[in-house]
Symmetry: none
């Protein structure tokens, strides 16, 4: 993960004082704390530095901008998502939707996710970093769910669908997009009823696709 500003910062035999590993952790933690307290738009690099007990220069030595820092700080939150086998495709979908909704209720996640996506509309490297650090890493959940459903016989084993533009990507956008839109744009709760109706809709679509 080349998430740092400078080229591989910790080559072993490099001369000079090595970068403090503790600083990295402190900075990312401070960033999340600042996101909770202030939100993205009032988060300042100076404040993060102060919270982390670190000089501003140390921040700028490692991250080129607030956006890159925030992406790194929240990426780890998304990695906490998991997909335990709940016994059926339906339960698996409900489970992941609920987990994702719970994540989007965390203030550091919701303010940061939308903000960096907004910034990324004018910043290709940032877009790339978001995809690499956050988005693509969650596709594993869809892939895993599909594989399990195929093993259970809930979905046909044909069409691996993992190829570029495959069904996995479509399902991913539908699930993630619907939850994000419900929670952040429509501003409505992702409650049990909604989850069940969304799951039913999606299962219906998948079933129709399998038959058609």
């Amino acid at each position: 993960m080349c998430s740092r500003r400078t080229p591989p910062p910790t080559a072993p035999g490099r001369p000079g004082r090595p970068r403090s590993a503790a600083a990295d952790a402190a900075i990312l933690e401070a960033t999340r704390a600042a996101l909770v307290d202030l939100g993205w738009s009032k988060l300042s690099m100076s404040d993060v530095a102060t919270r982390a007990g670190v000089a501003k220069t140390t921040l700028y030595r490692r991250w080129a901008s607030k956006n890159e820092l925030v992406v790194d700080a929240v990426a780890v939150l998304f990695d906490e998502l998991e997909l335990p086998d709940r016994g059926s495709l339906s339960a698996d979908i409900e489970g992941v939707v609920r987990q994702f909704a719970a994540l989007l209720e965390r203030p550091e996640a919701k303010t940061a996710l939308m903000a960096v996506v907004a910034e990324s509309t004018r910043d290709a490297p940032l877009r790339e970093r978001i995809r690499t650090s956050i988005v693509d890493r969650q596709k594993r959940l869809v892939e895993e769910g599909r594989r399990r459903a195929q093993a259970r016989g809930e979905l046909p084993a044909t069409s691996p669908a993992g190829a570029v533009g495959g069904t996995d990507d479509l399902i991913f956008d539908v699930i993630a997009g619907a939850v994000v839109h419900r929670a952040l744009v429509s501003g409505q709760p992702v409650d049990t009823q909604w989850v069940q109706r969304f799951t039913a809709l999606l299962l219906g679509g998948l079933g129709a696709a399998a038959r058609g």
Copy 2:
């Protein structure tokens, strides 16, 4: 629409010089132009004022903040969405998805939409204004499409579904969310293939729901 800072700005019998109506249009147009040129985060009130040939005071007399101004400036773009009768539910869905995707390719729309949504996560009045001025106004498209499909017999006439928590809202979140996620988060093109596969999935889901 109480989109202004001060209460009814042009009450007829009010004393003093009335507000310039031309200024309003110039400011909103200048805001869109600035969004195109600079994106949301580098847009400044001073810059908008200069572009509009207006003093900063005039901006702040009418909008309380950059966010409110931007919401008003882009809301009109979303009102351009239409749903001509394309003859089938499938074609109607494809049509609206394409229109929405085209809108999200306009730089002023994509940078602004995500940014104000991000800000709204910590600002309830802004959230309310986004819902009022942008989001809820587009639900008419879903409603219209459903009505037409019911008239055509493609969907059962039962369940008006317009009630709070009705199917309309779910469909709206799924369509809008999937398109936004595909275009802005995944950063992939909303091309013909994707639109067709998404439409098929959604139709399948709706059909299953109608049967179940």
Copy 3:
């Protein structure tokens, strides 16, 4: 005196909010206080702004740099020098030397004078400003002393000596230079004995010149 950064700042009919006159006085006073407390090299614009109860922008709107500000702040000190008629050329010289020495003992004057002269060695506009605001204004003292001595018959009335390169300039450099060098470079006190011996030397030179 165009001692400000921007062109004549207080033209009467100019549009916009006029500059605060009180701010000017507060800033110059704060600058002198900071010079006393911190000396030139540790004086910071931020600190001056804070002391003056003024924003940093207000400083930079009026002075282009720390050096220009300091010149203006100390110039007024030099204007306090006076040359009361002490009855003889000798007494007048002794008087002005003592006054000048007393001025150079004030911490804000001594740290600032040498520092801005040092800076001016690489900054022609600053050099010009120092000459205009400080140096040339004190030549009046030499001129006045000479005129009085001529009136008393202590010096010949011939040779007005005020022309460029005239004797006045030479005398000025000798007096000011000797006192500055004694006080700041040699770091020795300008005490009574030194003043008397310096005055005797200078009077002797002037007398010889008058005769020769």
Copy 4:
């Protein structure tokens, strides 16, 4: 000359790697070069270190601060002043004035001299070092000139004048002060005419003193 930070740096029997003598010369030379290029206020320790091909650590191991380093770097320039016997007191004075003026035209000398004197107004050890390394060493020129003039009979042999507060010191302050003030404060050229008139004035004063 205890111009180093640490006590006698090259005690013979000391353990460990001895300090590089070449580094000293390179640093002082780099300092002078930086003074020429940047002036005192923009000279940075990092820059000097880079120019000298040396690490910053090495600088700080030898000099406690930028000011001390600069004093050492320019002190050697002043040692180049000489007083060849030009046959008369008048010619000797003119000679030394011209030499000193030429020195003050060198950019590294003029920017550094005034700057360190300015700093020394708030830093007694620095003041002491300037006196030791620069000022007092030049008094030899006055002393030598006086001795020669006495030998020639141009000045009376009485009054050794070398004692503290003696005439030598006064003459030194008058000569050095007048030239510095003319060149750096008044910002006027120390040209032939000025030198001759200054010399005449000073000779007149010395003659009167000798007679009185």
